[in-house]
Symmetry: C2
Subunit: 470 residues, 2 copies
């Protein structure tokens, strides 16, 4: 019996299409929801009680194979029985109703909860600071980087000067120094003000918001297929690393950290080589900046290693690794004790994370490891990738730049333009497959970790049906 | 039977002191926790399974009457049976394990969950946008304010210019305009980058972080007792309103919103009059800024009205009211449809809040309303305030500027200096009362809403014992 079958003996065997998407009930529910909440972006209204495994059910009874999975956020399928157990446990109940101010009044079980979260820490990381979302995780990492940078300048144990303490109350330097985070064009790191200052995806994400004047380097833009374009892509790596180096040397203020996704996801599933990441690691060490890897979307098994950057063999490992989404909790992993601020209550908030979500994260990590779901994702992904490669050969006008080889199910491809891509996404929903886009013209697959061979077959069959009709 | 007795028939009748605080087990647990988490700020390690009602128990068996309540975040006491019921419900289980991307795939129960949250909306507010923490709530409100401000300038339905769309990708104006949020000296609005740019509490909260150059006005600094200083305090209101008006008129960039706490809490429990808030309302209307009231700490019954700003009879009501802490969820309430961005996916994130926490918020609101706990807090607070007034008369050296009359249990007073205050906080722990400070020299009471007359007596008796020993 497969892992998925053992979790979900009654998972549907195929999508069921009852109405168009969105159907009349969805439409009515979304309109009604609109009275109290902004529901304009709702694709459909889901019935989570009926959703199971890889299938999401809507209020019209449509049953979709879900390869979008709440924007890459469902790790173990809907209504996973192991997670139901955890959710019903007394430990969870207490975490929900007795939410502690974790920094001041940690609980007797706090150490265990955090230790469980550390069991899936990336190689080389052994500490964690917890937050509440991907954007929050990145901004907490920025705070750690800025404190680290200034401590390095001032001396870790040195006191703040009177001038620093006075000026900071006016949001002025030297207490509030001008420091930057370097990120990349087409990146997505969240939508709070500092994280949005690093995000560089689409204008609509950023318009009308004040921002920090922080530099953007260029992320490699590879030619596909990779094996036929090795030399050109190597040059592209070199070109982009020069840009990074020039910014590290020449930006008008110090760059405390470089922030990058292992695969730019929202920005179009843009990949870069191990050599490029190793080059970044070299440059950050050379110029005294931290390297922060944003694994909010790429983390937790989806690329065939538990953390995507583990494909790159960076040495030493990145200084901080941020997480959220599939881990259902958020924060950053790190190793260097000097990334802990020199005084308590500097990296701080009332809640310092959510133990309820951290308990769930620990349980998810445990299941992924015990059931070896990362390796399974790799095997299913290889199988799926080969099928998609054949489809791409057959329908080259609709499947350009297939990417994600050897990255498990973390697969994407491009259409000619946005309108074709959007038509494809809608057509897929119409045959019962919920799939998402990225950038303007691409499709990204983000199934759960219990997505198996049979689901891959259903996906490919549906795609062929649609592509052959174009 | 009192509400507290009906919830907690086995609540302790008095604090139990077994060891000093922190005791040997707490010390050991905090040290061990320190290997995986920053536990330097831990007062003690709590045993939440054993904590009940108004009493928090630590791992040494010390049982404290808790008038700090996780920095004002526990509404209905530890292990409240009604909340246990909610935490164990299938609705909660689904919200925990099937966490939706709420904007794209809302659930069939989303409308009900949000409608429950709206049942306790401040007067005049009928919509809500949800976030994850107080800082997040404020920053989401800032985003709403900036979009509103620019839409007013550009026209709500007008398209973005090509220049805006290009410049914003470089974090430059006009796409990323220079706009400000006006806040007040001594305020606390959270610790992410934009919220921290409005926070003006202590240097240690702000040092080393880049910030936005946003203006700070002065919050009234009243003379106490209030009834003996009416004329002087009225002048203080006028003085501070002039500062606000000058900033609204003369700051180097437009001020999209004014942000203020009804009572500055972290900053020292600084109160301002209804007239001052009415004046702010007038000025924000006059100069075309939104008024955001930060009720993260003051909200949910603690001041004798469900929302503290309802004491001030502002007309029209504030444009946005942010919440978190005791409501266990976070976000902003609002009314004006033009505060909804002109396009979807502008106020957005993967999760758009946490339905699990929102379900809890709805249940908390329902209990507070059904059990009339706001009114009870007012009655208990009046009783407690009178007793503290007598104590203050007897120990004027240790209880200056008693504040919070007619504000239920939201009471504070000042010591001569930080060292005396800190000694008092430690001495209180030593007799089994967990109480918190604010500013450098003040003590703030932040009990739950099930804090009753008998608990007030225990608190006052303990205080008298300590103050009489000085």
């Amino acid at each position: 019996m497969s892992v998925c079958e053992s979790y979900f003996p009654s998972e549907p065997t195929a999508p069921v299409v009852v109405t168009q998407s969105q159907g009349p009930n969805s439409k009515k529910a979304a309109e009604s929801l609109g009275k109290v909440f902004d529901s304009r972006a709702a694709y459909f209204v889901a019935d989570y009680a009926k959703s199971i495994g890889n299938y999401i059910v809507d209020v019209d009874g449509n049953t979709y194979l879900d390869v979008y999975a709440q924007i890459a956020s469902i790790p173990l399928g809907y209504n996973n029985p192991k997670l139901i157990e955890v959710a019903k446990s007394d430990k969870m109940t207490s975490a929900i109703i007795n939410r502690p101010a974790l920094g001041m009044f940690p609980g007797a079980d706090t150490e265990e909860i955090i230790a469980d979260l550390l069991k899936v820490a990336p190689k080389g990381q052994d500490k964690v600071w917890s937050g509440l979302s991907g954007a929050d995780a990145n901004e907490l990492a920025f705070k750690a980087a800025f404190m680290w940078y200034q401590a390095k300048k001032r001396g870790y144990a040195s006191p703040f000067s009177a001038e620093e303490s006075e000026s900071v109350m006016k949001n002025q330097s030297p207490g509030s120094p001008e420091l930057a985070i370097l990120s990349f064009e087409r990146s997505f790191h969240g939508r709070l003000f500092a994280s949005l200052s690093t995000t560089c995806s689409k204008p609509i994400h950023k318009l009308d918001f004040p921002s920090f004047n922080w530099p953007k380097a260029q992320f490699p833009a590879y030619k596909y297929p990779l094996d036929a374009n090795e030399a050109a892509n190597k040059e592209e790596d070199a070109r982009c690393l020069v840009i990074v180096e020039n910014l590290l040397k020449g930006w008008h203020c110090p760059i405390a950290a470089v922030l990058i996704e292992p695969i730019q996801s929202e920005g179009g599933d843009n990949h870069a080589s191990a050599a490029f990441f190793q080059g970044l690691r070299y440059l950050t060490l050379k110029y005294g900046s931290l390297l922060i890897i944003d694994e909010v979307q790429t983390g937790v098994g989806a690329t065939g290693t538990f953390w995507a950057h583990e494909h790159f063999n960076m040495s030493p490992p990145p200084d901080m690794v941020t997480f959220s989404k599939k881990l259902q909790s958020a924060g950053y992993y790190f190793h260097d004790p000097e990334i802990i601020p020199n005084q308590p209550i500097r990296q701080f908030s009332t809640w310092c994370g959510d133990p309820a979500r951290m308990i769930l994260a620990g349980a998810i990590g445990k299941e992924v490891v015990e059931k070896d779901l990362t390796k399974q994702a790799a095997r299913v992904g290889d199988y799926l990738y080969a099928k998609l490669e054949s489809l791409a050969a057959k329908y080259p006008d609709y499947m350009a730049d297939l990417r994600g080889k050897n990255r498990a199910t973390y697969i994407a491809w491009s259409f000619k333009d946005a309108s074709f891509r959007n038509k494809f996404l809608a057509d897929m929903k119409a045959v019962g497959i919920n799939v998402g886009g990225c950038a303007e013209d691409s499709v990204r697959l983000r199934p759960t970790l219990v997505f198996e061979w049979k689901h891959a077959n259903i996906l490919v069959t549906a795609m062929e049906k649609i592509l052959s009709s174009y």
